[in-house]
């Protein structure tokens, strides 16, 4: 008889707080909490980070969230868009959202100024399993604005550095101008307990670093796949090739965790847009392991 104990299967983690499940501070699922834009950071020509503070202290007190979760941000007059948290979860008085200017809502959001108001419904969705992967080596693979939903996880791990093993970040952008959070990357690269590798698809005169897609950096990574967990987020094509490469490196399918993106409206499992097979991404995702995604024909690699 085998006495071997099966390691518990890793999944996206259940958050402590979720809009509608743990209450709705505005009393109505669809009524957002007003928030003030305290600061706008221009990341790239098409991307800005908005630092927001909830106006009502009662809302602010209720509002806790975890890395990987997201909000529906209202730009009044344009509508709502789902945006992932991009700042440290340890900062309670404000939070940041990184927004790429791509549609009606995000376009109007880019025209807003410091002091303007937006609406917030959230936190929504599940989160990165940061508690479950303590003691493991962590490899983060990210492309373009896909670094945004991973930034809270990175900041959390760095703040609790002794709880985790080796820590690697592979980050790819289209061009040097498209690199997000340059101010963070400079600091992170200085640390000797965090291995940061960057690459761009197309370089310019000033770029002296790696050129090529993000998976080309994997050769430089030295860690034991059997004791490691990978967190990935980026364009679908990047996630696909990164996942296949990781599995080849020896990562088991439930040790590759990713955050999916879908068009969403309600954020509470009703409007139907983010349906992936029998789950709604907004309530049961967006964080899934590769093993879970294999269960959904719609996301099978």
């Amino acid at each position: 008889m085998s006495t071997e104990v099966q390691a518990p299967t890793l999944t996206g983690a259940k958050p402590r707080n979720m809009w509608g499940v743990t209450g709705v501070p505005t009393g109505n699922l669809y009524v957002p909490m007003p928030a003030v834009i305290e600061k706008i950071i221009v990341e790239t020509p098409d991307t800005k980070t908005f630092r927001l503070r909830l106006e009502d202290p009662k809302h602010a007190e209720w509002f806790t969230w975890e890395p990987g979760q997201f909000v529906e941000v209202s730009v009044f007059g344009a509508g709502e868009a789902p945006i992932g948290f991009a700042s440290s979860p340890l900062e309670r008085s404000w939070f940041e959202l990184t927004v790429v200017n791509r549609g009606k809502v995000t376009g109007l959001m880019h025209e807003l100024k410091e002091g303007d108001r937006v609406g917030i419904r959230g936190p929504l969705g599940n989160c990165w399993p940061l508690e479950d992967i303590k003691g493991k080596d962590i490899l983060i693979i990210s492309g373009g604005c896909g670094l945004a939903p991973l930034r809270p996880a990175i900041l959390y791990i760095l703040a609790n550095r002794e709880d985790y093993g080796e820590f690697w970040l592979l980050y790819g952008a289209r061009t040097p101008a498209d690199i997000n959070y340059k101010y963070d990357l400079v600091e992170w690269e200085k640390r000797n307990d965090f291995h940061v590798l960057q690459t761009v698809d197309v370089g310019d005169e000033s770029w002296t670093g790696n050129v090529g897609v993000v998976t080309t950096l994997l050769d430089q990574v030295k860690l034991d796949a059997a004791n490691a967990v990978a967190l990935t987020c980026g364009p679908p094509i990047m996630i696909k090739f990164a996942t296949l490469a990781l599995v080849k490196m020896g990562f088991s399918e439930d040790r590759v965790v990713t955050s999916l993106e879908r068009y969403m409206k309600c954020g509470v499992g009703k409007c139907g847009h983010c349906c992936v097979n029998h789950v709604y991404l907004c309530t049961e995702g967006p964080v899934f392991t590769y093993a879970q995604l294999q269960e959904f024909p719609e996301t099978r690699a």
Binding site: L29, G79, G119, R262, V276
Partner: protein
């Protein structure tokens, strides 16, 4: 529970009596469009016998266009005012039994314990559902193929069977008792009971199709060649889901009217390209094949897995209205005929 007889010439008195207790909602005849469920006003001509196809009752519970919020945004200040309908006692009459069962599906989506939709709840929670069993079965109905229809009875509060010059009102839940309190109703004769039973048997045996075995949803295969076949015919117009009594997907948009912003929701459908199109340009369902598959798999498989109810109740509207004659009944027969269930471990 005491069943009653409503002679058809007493319908106006019956409606008056109900209106003393309830807001009465019923299919109201229109000269320029199909009958639609509305709050009954004096002078309205009601279609209570189920003889006509009407707009589905979801149009009342989940309006095609509904303002959710009014927002006034001035520099330095934002005020958000929800516009929630009043929760008052309502009775809905004249809906087909499959439409009443479809409300069970809507209830699972909108009254789910974790995320109760306050707009739907206000119209639904205090509403008594009275279905109609018409004298003639509609050719497109295939209700008894989708489910054991005996299980549907307690999901409505009463059923009105059309017995020609009278309705037989069968009370199917305690809530339904209030519908038969009016003293203008009489007790049914044994003939009435027999005729009512005959209509029920007719409904139970109407269009029981080859696919129907209570487990057909297990055989809906992701990679079945039928999806490509439908997608070739389908023009993606969405009429199947707009007229479906259980399809409930919606969009939320803002409309600016002067200094006020209205946030409204309106119908949307998985049959449209924009339904899944993201800002990045990526579309996880980029053509009609995955969209056609999504609608049927969602109804027959995913909703059954999520909620334990089949998302289609066989009302036949999509069969009758599809402009390119995609017949969901044929699709199910084909899907289920060619494959054996996958072995379970």
């Amino acid at each position: 529970m005491a069943d009653k007889i409503l002679p058809k010439d007493k319908i106006p008195g019956f409606i008056d009596a109900l209106q003393k207790q309830f807001v009465v909602v019923a299919p109201v005849e229109r000269t320029d469009a199909p009958a639609e469920f509305k709050e009954v006003a004096p002078g309205d001509n009601l279609i209570l016998d189920g003889s006509q196809m009407m707009m589905p009752p979801k149009d009342y519970l989940l309006p095609r266009y509904e303002t959710l919020l009014k927002v006034s945004a001035r520099p330095g200040e934002v005020e958000v005012q929800p516009v929630v309908p009043e929760n008052k006692p309502r009775v809905m009459l004249g809906m087909w039994l499959p439409d009443a069962q479809a409300i069970q599906v809507l209830d699972r989506v909108f009254l789910d314990g974790k995320f109760k939709d306050p707009y739907y709840a206000a119209r639904r929670e205090n509403t008594t559902l009275v279905a109609v069993m018409p004298a003639e079965m509609r050719w497109s109905w295939f209700c008894a193929s989708t489910d054991d229809v005996e299980k549907w009875k307690p999901n409505v509060d009463a059923i009105m069977y059309d017995l020609g010059d009278r309705f037989y009102i069968e009370v199917t839940s305690p809530k339904g008792e209030a519908v038969v309190e009016w003293d203008g109703l009489s007790a049914p004769s044994s003939d009435d009971v027999e005729n009512k039973n005959r209509l029920w048997e007719q409904f139970k045996s109407h269009n029981v199709l080859p696919f129907s075995d209570g487990k057909f949803y297990e055989r809906l295969a992701w990679d079945h060649p039928i999806w490509a076949e439908i997608a070739q015919k389908c023009i993606g117009c969405g009429v199947c889901s707009y007229m479906c009594p259980s399809c409930s997907c919606f969009d939320i948009q803002d409309e600016v009217c002067g200094t006020c912003i209205e946030r409204y929701r309106c119908r949307d459908t998985c049959q449209f390209e924009e339904f899944t199109l993201m800002g990045s340009g990526h579309n996880p369902r980029p053509d009609q094949l995955p969209r056609s598959r999504q609608r049927l798999m969602h109804k027959f498989k995913y909703q059954h897995e999520q909620y334990g109810v089949v998302g289609c109740t066989g009302c036949g509207r999509c069969v009758e209205l599809c402009p390119v004659n995609v017949d969901i009944r044929d699709v199910l027969n084909k899907v289920c005929a060619e494959r054996e269930p996958e072995p379970t471990t």
